[in-house]
Amino acid sequence: MQSHLVTMYSSRIYNLGLRMLRNNEDAEDMLQETFITAFQKMHSFKGKSSFYTWIYRIGVNIALGKLRKQSRMQISYSIQEPDFENLHGLKIADWPEYIETKVSDKEFRIALKVALDDLDEKYRSVFVLRDLEELSTAKTAEVLELSESNVKVRLMRARLFLRDHMSTFLKREGWLV
């Protein structure tokens, strides 16, 4: 039974760990801790949600715990909302259509990953759960213990941070005029 559950869900939990923690070692630690915790607490699993939903939440909490420990040693920062009144009339460079085909380019992939690495944990967690794991706003809010409006604000800021980083990279590479 336990072996079957590990086989079924370990890959998805590991990928969640990779996305949230950004390195293989921490993702593996998180994976192991998640299953150890789940099996220790199996008696408390009431079947109200699916087993995956239950163990997924355990995994997110373990990842968040690790991120919080790390963030004590890092400088946390806030991303300001863009001042849209100032956007009007500015020249905002559009991205060329071929950008999507560049995604196999090693430098481009690294630039995307570095921007996500650089994103503060409080924004990255929301971005990972909403945009990569594709959880709903309500579920993300529940898992991260945030209000839905807070999830929306953080998600917007995360997306804009990543968008701006990509624009900077594309300009540097001469892909944007």
Binding site: V6, L31, F35, E81, E85, H88, V103, L112, K113, M166
Partner: protein
Amino acid sequence: MTKPKHDVELQKKICLDFGADIGSELCREVELLMEECPECKVYYDTMQRSVKLYRVVEDECALPKSVSERLFKVLDLDQLKKDL
């Protein structure tokens, strides 16, 4: 010069939209509104494209065999795995 009121309202709506589900009905309505603000449209489009790029780059990878083996060992499920 004071900006037209509709620009300000549009800009607020775009801000809200960044927190809404991409591809939802609300997003489509906002996209229509954004036609009035080409800069905002470009900004919004490139933001959407960056999310799509991330979905490609951060796509799920297979669990490495060594990671799986260590997991089974830590959980003391080695024998059970062999029996599966």
